[in-house]
């Protein structure tokens, strides 16, 4: 019928797949905290810590038999952020030793013109390039290169001083962000959304003490997950129906676009409101009482492996704290 699946679960039976979701989520949080505790610096110890974490994470990934490529794909959305952060570090860190002699960068008519031309060229050709991310890095490099090479009709200039500390710090932050992304991806790739839901519910349980309606939140989360694919399908149907009445985002003015978006939003809202009413009735008739105790069809049993995982995560956190305190 339809090929949408909720979430990014990739089926498999690695040890990570089989871990209890509560343990996975808890361990993830601990490891994330550990990643952020490692201080940003260009000293040996933090760098070693961070790198060993990365190595550990890659070993983890390989052990789950999930193709490394898929995990690295999770980095795609933030390539821009990573590059931006990298450049900022490069520009603003002025400690340590110069890596190369200071380079004079010109913002001139010629360099601006060249940059604009290059950006146009980049946008036109990027569809044909296979390794887009590398091409993007190359493009960023060229933009700077052009500033260094074209002083003609200079408007202003600045000096680019690349310090080793800057490079190290930039690399460090890059590693940290990469670690976070890969860890989180590992979780979502190896855990079904229903299980993730349960993990979140379990972790929120302590909040019951301060009267947070955890059960209700868990039910809402579960219903949301259940309805996302359905809503997507319904939205597509409405888009097609309105397209058949002339709605065309490509060939319309801005003012028209507003009424066209309304023609998509209102039907979706109407469907959703009717749905809530019907669903409320259906749930009530099937005996659902908000806040009442319920049993559960899914069973979650903590095994020895789960305990080991938690212990190891805490040990890692401890080690990181130790290196920091030292």
């Amino acid at each position: 019928m339809n090929n949408i699946t909720i979430g990014q679960y990739i089926s498999g039976d690695s040890w990570l797949h089989k871990l209890d979701p509560r343990i996975k989520l808890f361990s993830l949080i601990i490891l994330l905290v550990a990643t952020f505790i490692v201080p940003v610096s260009a000293n040996l110890v933090p760098i070693l810590t961070m790198t060993s974490m990365l190595v550990l994470i890659i070993i983890l990934t390989i052990s789950t038999k999930i193709p490394l490529k898929k995990v690295l794909n999770g980095l795609k959305p933030i390539v821009f952020l990573l590059t931006f952060t990298f450049i900022i570090q490069l520009f603003y860190v002025k400690t340590g030793n110069l890596v190369v002699n200071p380079i004079e960068m010109y913002i001139s008519v010629s360099s601006i013109a060249a940059i604009i031309l290059f950006i146009v060229f980049y946008n036109l050709t990027k569809k044909h390039i296979k390794f887009r991310i590398l091409y993007f890095f190359f493009a960023v490099f060229v933009v700077f290169l052009l500033q260094a090479l074209l002083p003609y009709v200079s408007l202003t200039s600045y000096t680019l001083e690349i310090y080793d500390q800057g490079l190290l710090r930039a690399g460090f932050i890059f590693l940290r962000i990469t670690n976070v992304i890969i860890l989180t991806s590992l979780l979502t790739f190896t855990t079904m959304t229903t299980d993730l839901n349960y993990g979140i519910e379990a972790l929120l349980k302590p909040l019951k003490i301060i009267k947070v309606p955890v059960d209700m939140i868990a039910m809402m989360l579960s219903l949301t997950l259940r309805y996302i694919p359905t809503l997507l399908i319904e939205t597509e149907k409405i888009m097609k129906a309105q397209a058949s009445r002339g709605v065309d985002f490509k060939e319309s003015t801005f003012k028209e676009k507003i009424s066209q978006v309304i023609s998509l939003l209102i039907p979706v809202f109407v469907i959703s409101f009717k749905r809530s009413e019907d669903l409320g009735n259906a749930m009530e008739v099937r005996g659902y009482v908000i806040g009442a105790k319920r049993t559960r069809i899914d069973e979650y049993i903590i095994s020895f492996k789960d305990i080991i995982t938690v212990v190891l995560s805490i040990v890692i956190l401890g080690a990181v704290i130790y290196t920091r305190v030292m």
């Binding site: 019928m1 339809n2 949408i4 699946t5 909720i6 959304t193 229903t194 579960s222 219903l223 997950l225 259940r226 694919p229 359905t230 399908i233 009717k274 749905r275 019907d278 669903l279 009735n281 259906a282 749930m283 009530e284 008739v285 099937r286 005996g287 659902y288 009482v289 009442a292 105790k293 319920r294 049993t295 559960r296 069809i297 899914d298 069973e299």
Partner: protein
């Protein structure tokens, strides 16, 4: 099994959606409640499962008087499947949806597993337990809804326009399932519909118009009243109209008329 007496309801205080409806339903029978849109059929079904409180009259299910205090008890006796397959499918998968009612009833885990497998089998969805709702057809979703209701082991099942949104294949799946439930498993079944070809197979029919009960009887008795039915915006299905015309027409031989009725009961 079910006793409805002088049941009346009004949504806004003055216009009565249901007026003094009275009828009994015997255990193990299959009743169809027919009526045009706005005749009060949905109001009636909601009253019977305690989603609405009557302004007058009362409902008794298996000896238990329906009121606000004993809703939990009532919901163990009577279940309902609604019209929109997507708007009552709560679970993330088929398994979870059938489990929903059982979880609410705090059925212990092992018993739950058994029941889910049993009722999924009964409705023919045992190979779909891990499928998500958007991967299912309308008929399949309704079968899951029925399994979910059956799993709660209520004596009475109401199907409120459960096939109205389905294609003929889906409708046939459901009709066959209902027949099985009533004839093999002796469930008391109430179908609410505007589709008379469905209704021909019930034991008894009740026709509502403007909130009032205007006809009650066996299909044969009710279908004779073609004019009354027409005035309630109910169309006889093709085969029944043919039968009624043939009945009236002397030029058509009696054998043909009998065979036409046999065709109708077979449908």
């Amino acid at each position: 099994m079910i006793k409805v007496k002088d049941l009346s309801f009004s949504y806004n205080g003055h216009d009565e959606a249901l007026k003094n409806v009275t009828f009994d339903i015997k255990k193990g029978s299959w009743i169809s409640i027919l009526g045009h849109n706005g005749s009060g059929k949905s109001t009636l079904s909601k009253l019977m499962v305690g989603l609405l409180t009557p302004s007058k009259g009362h409902i008794e299910i298996d000896g238990l008087l329906l009121n606000d205090e004993n809703l939990l008890e009532i919901r163990k006796k009577i279940g309902i499947v609604f019209q929109n397959p997507d708007n009552q499918f709560v679970g993330v998968t088929v398994k979870h949806d059938i489990a929903f009612g059982l979880e609410n009833q705090r059925v212990p885990h092992n018993e739950m597993k058994e029941k889910i497998n049993y009722y999924a089998n009964l409705v023919g969805m045992q190979d779909f337990l891990n499928k998500e709702p958007h991967q299912l057809s309308g008929g399949q979703k309704q079968r899951v809804a029925i399994a979910g209701a059956l799993a709660m082991e209520q004596d009475v099942l109401i199907l409120d326009e459960a096939t109205s949104m389905l294609d003929p294949e889906g409708t046939l799946e459901i009709v066959n399932l209902i027949k099985k439930l009533n004839q093999t498993y002796h469930k008391t079944i109430i179908t609410i519909t505007h589709d008379l070809s469905f209704a021909t197979q019930s034991d008894e029919l009740i026709v509502l118009k403007g909130g009032e009960m205007i006809l009650k009887g066996t299909p044969k008795e009710v279908f004779k009243e073609e004019d009354v039915l027409k005035s309630s915006h109910l169309e006889l299905p093709f085969e029944l109209s043919v039968y009624n015309e043939a009945l009236k027409d002397e030029k058509i031989s009696k054998k043909v008329v009998e065979a036409l009725w046999a065709f109708n009961s077979k449908m």
